[in-house]
Symmetry: C2
Subunit: 214 residues, 2 copies
DNA sequence: AAAATTATTCGTACATGTACATTTTCTGAC
DNA sequence: GTCAGAAAATGTACATGTACGAATAATTTT
């Protein structure tokens, strides 16, 4: 029946897209980040350059897909670092997040430091909130801390604030490698400790509901 | 004598460079940020496209120069917002910095969210530290707070931490405009208050001296 | 002044992302 | 099987940043 064929085509297309991603990954391994070129990529899989655009909207789309794969590795790595103490588990998110960002600056940049022209098609933010695996784990662990009475207030607000601090720290370290932050690890730890200590005291209000915007 | 001619040439060259920058600025005004093109720019000043490269290393260099001009406006704006209370003055830096970043996302991006391949030729960081006018004011005001006994510890370390928080906040707001941070102003204020409150307690150690770095 | 050296400008050429239109392949109805 | 319509793949073309080297102008040396 028609639906089966439809499905098969979709799967086939997904498989080809996956092949392209694999080829892109290998290309980056072999020739570095700036060696990833639409033409080279097409050549690797025996396509004409323009055929790539049947599977990806544009080059950014490819980079995003690659970065998303990398971020799933991060999510797994974070889940490996879990403690009995929920606060320690929370700290581990920050630590692993930082290590990942510093170790994969290109992926970090494409996901977190690149203009987002389109809100990911679904609802404006739900998609994003649930989009990055690492963000999910962060919220989960904040919730655990709140449940354990170690933190007080709205978990999403707390997670967002932690995100802002962590992102600021990491992106500065990535962007200004020559600035004397001292030992990156130490700077990350300092920012992390400082922030968590600051949050431990107060009751954190939920984020406002976007009132005065334009 | 020879030196005079040398000087004159340098001034002439600087003037031409300035003309190019002015033309670039106008181009951006008229056609938007992505409308700034080497070819268009050259045409505006009656040059061949490649001649632009006598005055700028590459396109990034032009964008940087434009952004630096913008940041001087920020520095001036910050200095207008000064209070008797040094802590309030410090808060004003963050507020104005944020307002500037949100109002000039392109400039903010080119200065703070773009890979720095070359450490600015002088000494590795001195140049950078004194490079951005806003950073100078920040350090100055932190020093004032320390002097007034409102903050304790190393001023540069405190300023760097504030920078990290401020930058994280602003760059997230710029990069994920659709994420429900709530009112941007409110989010900035929250991050700012939270951070300054957290710093007020503790004695802040200087940043370590770059020990374990590959 | 003439020649040599240096600084400045420019012409040509290439790799890149991708818009647009065309061709080829596939699908489902008759 | 035939054929119309859709989907996938491709060919061509353009704007862009910029490398490279030639041409031109300015400066210094002789």
């Amino acid at each position: 029946m028609a639906l089966t064929v439809q499905k098969r085509r979709e799967q086939h297309k997904a498989a080809l897209r996956s092949d392209l991603l694999a080829a892109a990954h290998k290309l980056v391994q072999e020739e570095g980040y700036e060696g990833l070129t639409i033409r080279k990529l097409a050549q690797r899989v025996g396509y004409a350059p323009m055929s790539v655009y049947s599977y990806f909207a544009d080059k950014q789309d490819i980079l995003f897909a690659l970065a998303e794969d990398a971020f799933e590795i991060l999510a797994r790595r974070i889940e490996e670092h879990q403690s009995d103490d929920p606060m320690e588990s929370l700290r581990a998110v920050m630590t692993e997040y930082a290590a990942f960002g510093l170790g994969n600056p290109n992926e970090y940049r494409t996901v977190f430091m690149t203009e987002k022209l389109k809100a990911p098609e679904g609802r404006s933010f739900q998609e994003m909130e649930n989009g990055n695996p690492a963000m999910n784990v962060l919220i989960d662990r904040v919730e655990a801390c709140v449940a354990a009475g170690k933190l007080k207030g709205d978990p999403r607000a707390i997670a967002t604030m932690l995100w802002a601090v962590g992102h600021g720290t990491i992106s500065l370290l990535i962007t200004f490698p020559f600035y004397p932050f001292g030992d990156p690890q130490a700077f990350v730890r300092r920012m992390c400790d400082f922030t968590i200590a600051g949050l431990a005291d107060k009751e954190v209000e939920p984020l406002s509901d976007q009132p005065a915007n334009c």
